[in-house]
């Protein structure tokens, strides 16, 4: 009998958890309960919005790009009618939650990279992000460090993510706002000629769709970057 050739119930099969009630956990419940009691929203509203945030992610956007790489007609649709193309990968921008719109609703635009033009998205004002199709924004996207500096020094900030673009590639920073959300359609990388949609989607990571990375054969996870709090404003 091999080591795992048995009906087994190892001593510990559940992942470890924090077995302690933290102040932050208590505070989140307190704020939520008081808001509900004061009539700001209902427990049902909260549950549905929470469910929405838990189920969104970058997978639909990765498939949208992969499909566009394979199908010129779909690519044209994605660039000219991005909300229609989104619907074909399961995201309805008009009803992203299925019961109403959180702050995301908007006009949605897909930015096509070319060999001489690279796009990257930001929200200089706060942290607007195409959540219905990309999921929640990464922590660094919300930081003033990224928001303030990307619009002024895009080439240098992209280099901090390990993305060094040649000087002959122009960089266009697209600033999101309350009504307009964007995602990037990167160039299909070399070495993927006979790949199918699922294979291609696997290398279209969230960071590629933001524009701080490029798809690469063999890279299926986002870059790990160190972030730090923004410098405090000078007094």
């Amino acid at each position: 009998m091999t080591e795992h050739d048995h009906d087994h119930d190892h001593d510990r099969t559940a992942a470890p958890m924090v077995d302690e009630i933290t102040d932050f956990e208590v505070l989140e419940i307190a704020v939520r309960e008081l808001c509900i009691e004061k009539g700001l929203f209902t427990a049902e509203d909260h549950r549905r919005f929470t469910e929405f945030t838990e189920q969104i992610g970058p997978t639909p956007a990765a498939h949208l790009v992969a499909r566009a790489w394979l199908d010129p007609d779909f690519k044209n649709l994605a660039l000219t009618e991005p909300m229609t193309a989104s619907k074909q990968v399961g995201v309805d921008w008009l009803e992203p939650t299925g019961f109403g719109t959180p702050s995301d609703f908007t006009a949605f635009h897909i930015l096509e990279d070319t060999p001489t033009l690279h796009h990257v998205i930001v929200c200089a004002l706060c942290s607007c992000y195409p959540r219905p199709i990309l999921g929640n924004s990464p922590e660094w996207y919300r930081t003033p460090n990224y928001r303030r500096r990307l619009v002024r020094w895009p080439r240098e900030v992209l280099a901090e993510f390990g993305l060094y673009l040649p000087e002959d590639v122009a960089i266009r920073v697209e600033d999101s706002n309350q009504k307009h959300r964007f995602m990037v359609m990167p160039l299909r990388p070399d070495g993927t000629a006979d790949w199918d949609e699922d294979q291609l989607a696997a290398i279209v990571t969230r960071d590629c769709l933001i524009g701080v990375a490029l798809p690469k054969v063999g890279v299926t996870t986002n870059a790990i970057t160190d972030t730090r709090p923004a410098m405090h404003p000078a007094k």
Partner: protein, 123 residues
């Protein structure tokens, strides 16, 4: 009250129950390391997102804390009063701070609720 007046009302506000939470510093990174947990964010994060979305969704009706106001104040408070906290702890503290600053939640009421919830969870 206008938005700018509301924004000013969060400045320099000392909120004892929140200060105590900062001082106890039970931030997720520390707690996760203590228990060998690898989840990058605390389990209450999606619920916090749900609160922010639900508040924003209702803001036209309630006039309380739209997404833009919440994010602006979060930015400000994360760089000042709660600069020692990581994300998303600073997001949570800033939200509570904004609601207290607006008089939506009363400080004493919050303290009582924190105690009641802790007792309930530890029962």
């Amino acid at each position: 009250m206008s938005t700018s007046e509301e924004s000013r009302s969060i400045d320099g506000l000392e909120i004892a129950p929140l200060t105590k939470i900062v001082e106890r510093n039970q931030v997720w990174g520390r707690m996760a390391a203590k228990y060998g947990v690898e989840n990058p964010v605390p389990p209450w994060k999606s619920s916090l997102d749900g609160i922010c979305d639900a508040l924003d969704h209702a803001a036209c009706r309630t006039g309380v804390l739209s997404s833009k106001e919440q994010r602006d104040e979060e930015d400000k408070l994360s760089a000042t009063t709660y600069s020692s906290l990581p994300y998303p702890e600073n997001q949570l503290l800033a939200l509570a701070h904004s609601l207290i600053g607006r008089g939506v939640i009363d400080e004493t009421e919050l303290q009582e609720r924190l105690s009641a919830i802790r007792a309930r969870l530890e029962a």
